[in-house]
Symmetry: C2
Subunit: 334 residues, 2 copies
Amino acid sequence: MASLPIAGGRFIILGGGSLVGAATAEHFLAAGAAEVRLLDNFSMGAEGAVAHLRGDPRLSIIRGDVMRMSDLLAAMQGMDGALLLAAYMTLNMDRDPWGGLDVNIRGVQNALEAAAVRGLRKVVFASSNAVYGYGPGIRGELAESTPFHSEGAPPAAILYGATKIIGEQLCRSYTRKRGLAHVTLRYSTVYGERQHHRAANALYIIETLERLARGEPPEIFGDGSETKHFVYVGDLARANRCAFESAASDVAVNCSGPAPITTRELVALITELAGGGPPPRFVGEEPGKLRLTSGGAFRIAHEKAFAAIGWKPEVEMREGLTRLIRWLREEQRT
Amino acid sequence: MASLPIAGGRFIILGGGSLVGAATAEHFLAAGAAEVRLLDNFSMGAEGAVAHLRGDPRLSIIRGDVMRMSDLLAAMQGMDGALLLAAYMTLNMDRDPWGGLDVNIRGVQNALEAAAVRGLRKVVFASSNAVYGYGPGIRGELAESTPFHSEGAPPAAILYGATKIIGEQLCRSYTRKRGLAHVTLRYSTVYGERQHHRAANALYIIETLERLARGEPPEIFGDGSETKHFVYVGDLARANRCAFESAASDVAVNCSGPAPITTRELVALITELAGGGPPPRFVGEEPGKLRLTSGGAFRIAHEKAFAAIGWKPEVEMREGLTRLIRWLREEQRT
């Protein structure tokens, strides 16, 4: 069976210096993992994200690159499971499509090949709801069978989504041809403690908090009816655990938060939790700014995840945002 | 304007040793091109496809690889337009996904970068109706806004389609960021003189002809109601010309034949044109054989191509198959 318990297991997280990597490492250590290795090239400046974990002797941090097979073959020795997070997201893909296509495609091939050669028992691949695309086709319930919509979307967003589609298929191929078990999790937009500025959608939360902190009114693009469907980072750490521990393999499931939210509701909630502030300013499109749009209200369905790996989201946005704001304030004090 | 006349122009065809490459070179030379360069690594054994063109002093054949920037920078010097054909299709992608992802993605980046650096006036990118995917979602009219369906399709077919989506977006990026004009043509399944055995769908035609030549009954998978929508290679050569000559840029259009056909009709037509033969044998799925399926009858709409570049298909399957059969028989005599 493809079940791989966290307790007593040895795990490597590729792209471990990320928001999800740090939370997952913490979660896996708390769940009794024998060893957790974080591999990251730290090119995106994320060393701070894992600084708080350095005290645990079971944790090691390896400066390495998914583009170098030698790094991966060395780092995967003795491991049971690998979590594949290393990736360029849309904003970085726009700035550097050569690097982004390398890391998101060849990096995944390298990781799967190393995992197969080193005899790992299971791989969890971090995909994205970007595999459904953007633009007018995105509306209603987005289940796992939703096709990829690219009409009307910016090139970098389509490139990002297409690389995630390719990553998923590479996982399927390694399961079929090499017997390497895998689960693909299609994360929705992640937010939570150790939030950074690298994600096009989550940027909205952090920018609103920053504007409020400066006493400026939050900005809403358009009329504020636009849907976002976030997921709290701690829920994703648990989803990664469920993916390893469940017997499931060769399956792709959505991981989204309890419910979607409109940008208007989001800004109101953030303003309330931040202790109040001026009312939002409705602004037009900012020229040159990469924006990810939909065709109407949508919800990223996560029911299949519960059926396949026994996971469902637990943290509501009110609670998750409260934790994020608390963390931000503690950061600013230190 | 982005219009680039063939007469007097200098063109390079990447992947020039292909079915479409050979037909396009012939067409461009006949249309008065000042120079046609064919670049190919001939890894797919296609040197025979261009042997008949070697007499024309305006034609040169360069053994080169789209994975080597130095080859491309040298070969594109002095060129006005580039046709990007070099690619792995689904069958080869299945056998060698590392090579296929390299050529179909990095190869396109290399070609676009070299074209931008060398100041080419226009690029025509050979995409595919594989950007609409396969499986139950493929039915009815497939216009250019159709999303990418991957549910239920084999990994290699999804990989191939995703690389074509990426190639198209790389073209859009180079037009936006570097001012390099481009037209994307989404070819449907190509058939015609110099047909090879490398395309999953077109294989059906050649295998049927080979079975009939051996006196064996043609085989039909399933009940024969499955739709195919082919396009004659000479029509594509003309589509490539229209794409260069039209003022259009930054547009993607379908290039399909006059009408779709069911596999039952196709086998009947081939049998008739081949001079008769035993009735077809209906067989089940062949295990391990990669097959590309749809959810029902479909038609790949080509009306947008007429609006954007003034092209529509002219050669009916009866005529195109007649030419293919004539060519095959001449080949066998020599």
